[in-house]
Symmetry: D2
């Protein structure tokens, strides 16, 4: 099922600056093969719902392995059956 989503990864316990981990999470989304659009409050993605969720699992596994003790991720995900969703189609 095709889906659009917004993914925001917040590492906890790495200090006041979270840039390194947030950048790493974005890189992993780029590598996932999903269409991605970075903005100041997360990364918007377009792809199969299952692929999106697997990408989030990969982010958690990778960041934990690389030393982040705690991760809080916020995901907004939308699907619809009346037409094919696209990130571009949500702009005006």
């Amino acid at each position: 099922m095709k889906a659009l989503a917004e993914i925001q990864v917040v590492p906890i316990g790495v200090g006041v600056s979270v840039r390194k981990e947030v950048k790493r999470a974005h890189e992993l989304l780029v590598e996932s093969g999903l269409e991605v659009q970075l903005h100041s409050y997360g990364t918007n993605v377009e792809g199969e719902l299952g692929q999106i969720f697997r990408a989030v699992e990969t982010i958690h596994e990778t960041l934990h392995r690389e030393g982040t003790a705690r991760i809080m991720t916020s995901i907004k995900v939308g699907t619809r059956t009346d037409k094919a969703p696209s990130l571009a189609g949500k702009l005006f």
Copy 2:
């Protein structure tokens, strides 16, 4: 990987009342085998990260099949390596 999450399902296009679809989504979470706690802004769940995401996929597939044209779901998910997370442990 053990995770805690909050899942809020918002059906779009079913009218001002969304109770029937939200209740159905909660039932599907109960049936998923995850530990669940209903509150006024969603359902908190405890379980494996992959199992949580599969439960959300099942909700989208089921609600679409049962007639909801558009679904927006908000998910907050947390994992940590310093100790075993639990929903109960987040209260004070």
Copy 3:
């Protein structure tokens, strides 16, 4: 305007455990006079929309003054004109 909301405060840079600051934020919500319901992923509140937002401002001001350098708060807020909203009315 009467509103229902969910407020989740995430202090950044205080370490892996955020319990002290999250508990403090909840106390400030209790003191605000809003009706509050704590759960594992935030505090649900019922009250005037302006009062809810002022309570969130007070949380940010207070936690910063007490030493938290960075705060990320997630708010979901709902209003409706077809009937009087209540936290209890959202359960089933």
Copy 4:
């Protein structure tokens, strides 16, 4: 207090397409005087925390007056004392 925020307005009960109301909400943010950046999952804004919340109140009041019976808004808001926050500074 300077803040960054993401605001996503979801009108309920207006049908499967929510474009008209979402566009109206974005226009009201532009008119608020906040710095705004539209993306596919909301509008990112930069400004005083109180000004941001007043803009959200104006959106709810205006959309209700113009006929939307129910509105669910998701807000992520961040403040920090270690440096001046900016939307541009969150990109990499």
